[in-house]
């Protein structure tokens, strides 16, 4: 082998287009590879649950079968009741979550860029993050009434801290090497922030927002349990009072589906926004 051969061999080869299988078949194949085991597991779980509740527990006061829950979901949707509850809880969640995201990211930015801001807010954030602030929900209902705003406040309190903490951590852990690289080109602190710190903190911020989904849903439901006129928490507590297990489970199932869907949506968003973290 001559030097020229080695040279051409080590040169990166021109990017070749890989032969693509037809799209639907590739999609089905990837579905099988990634989701088949999970789907089978869920199906078996549901079947076991059905058998348990119908033949072992056999008492609808204690456990509702998946089929009964399904019927309850259908009838609640047909009457429009489910839609009403979802609308109220959804509104509380969306308003609270949006406000918490904006404040949380802003607070995280402030803490990362100013030592004073960090020293002032750190003890509050550490303290409140670990405290089950959800226990304050009855107090908020007393202050802000039984309507949506007391719930919005609880959502804000629960979602705010993971977002703040992650934003701050993400900005603080920006690679010093990347900052130095930018500095070698004469970048100003502002350019370093926009071109390096912010993009490299984005995966952390998204992770904080993702954590906030579950906490926000818990906040909505628990706050509604303490006192509300409508919402999924209200549906659940009403059904519990009436020993209507299928409807209680219907509320829980809707929440579970919402949580799963939003988390999956976030996973998709992460793939689009921060693909470099995916390997």
């Amino acid at each position: 082998m001559t030097a020229a051969d080695i040279q051409s061999a080590s040169r990166p080869a021109a990017p070749a287009a890989a032969p693509q299988p037809s799209a639907p078949r590739a999609w089905a194949a990837s579905l099988r590879r990634h989701y088949l085991a999970g789907l089978v597991s869920i199906a078996c779980g549901l079947a076991l649950w059905e058998v348990l509740s119908r033949f072992v527990v056999a008492n609808p006061l204690f456990l509702a079968a998946p089929s009964q829950i399904f019927v309850a979901v259908l009838s609640l949707s047909a009457s429009g009741e489910l839609g009403r509850h979802i609308a109220v809880s959804g509104l509380e969640f969306v308003i609270g979550y949006a406000i918490a995201s904006v404040i949380g990211i802003a607070l995280g930015l402030a803490m990362a860029s100013s030592v004073l801001a960090k020293q002032v807010s750190q003890p509050w954030i550490s303290g409140l993050y670990a405290t089950p602030t959800i226990a304050l929900a009855p107090l908020f209902i007393l202050w802000f009434g039984i309507g949506i705003w007391s719930k919005v406040l609880v959502v804000i309190l629960l979602v705010l801290f993971p977002v703040t903490i992650n934003t701050e951590a993400g900005l603080r852990t920006t690679s010093p090497r990347l900052i130095e690289m930018l500095r070698s080109f004469g970048a100003t602190p502002r350019q370093i922030f926009i071109k390096v710190s912010l993009p490299s903190a984005t995966p952390f911020i998204l992770a904080g927002l993702k954590l906030g989904i579950g906490r926000g849903l818990i906040a909505v439901v628990v706050a509604e349990l303490f006192g509300s006129r409508a919402g999924l928490g209200r549906l659940i507590s009403q059904s519990a009072d009436a020993f209507n297990m299928p409807e209680l489970f219907a509320g829980v199932v809707v929440l579970a589906v919402a949580g799963i869907a939003m988390t999956a949506g976030f996973g998709w968003l992460e793939g689009k926004l921060v693909p470099w973290t995916r390997d």
Partner: protein, 258 residues
Amino acid sequence: MTAKLAASGLTKRFDALEALRAINLTVAPGEFISLVGPSGCGKTTFLRIVAGLEPATSGEVRIDGKPVTKPGGDRGFVFQNDNLLPWRSVLANAMIGPEIAGQADAAARRRTLELLKLVGLEGFEHYHPRQLSGGMRQRVNLARALAIDPDILLMDEPFSALDAQTREIMQTELLRIWEQGRKTVLFVTHQIDEAVFLSDRVLVFARRPGRVQENVEVALPRPRTLDIKRTPDFVRYVDHIWRLIEDDVRASVIEEHA
């Protein structure tokens, strides 16, 4: 000929540690100079001071007669770890210099595309760093430094993370690129044969304190190909430099394992 770069009495202390003591160096325009020496001899610190990334404790570096106080567009730094931004494409990474200078216009883009071609990355402009091999990432690293069209290239062990074969290829590629522009180069390396192969002059550093032990002129003809590494002259240079730093290297190895 006036000096492109001149260091005089350059000293750097990190608290009690004297990293560099009274470095004097004059570099002519277009000269290719390597800095070799054991770990901890201050060669990278010297490069960082020239880059303006680190202040000297005393003494100064002048470029074209003007003292260095901060990074500038007259110097392009090629990093040991490629330090590519993972969210940017190859082209966007290479464009970061002009972008920071506020000159990311169509002309700069055209020039950068030319440079990517020069470093052998044609067709990969829109790839992302995670899709590239180590050698290709270092090519982007080099193109990024060249994109600001600096007078001086400062290269900090750019090939140290590459496997032996890729490193040899990158050495010949670097010479090929350098022959076309003849920029002044300061090249820090651990590899003695790399230093001899590339350079007009090899500065051999000693440690504790970091200082220039010997200035070895490499009188091998250019353009050079890898074959030259098997000539007796080449081997003599390598042996000579190795003997200069052997004791220091042993000492630093023992320290690292202690």
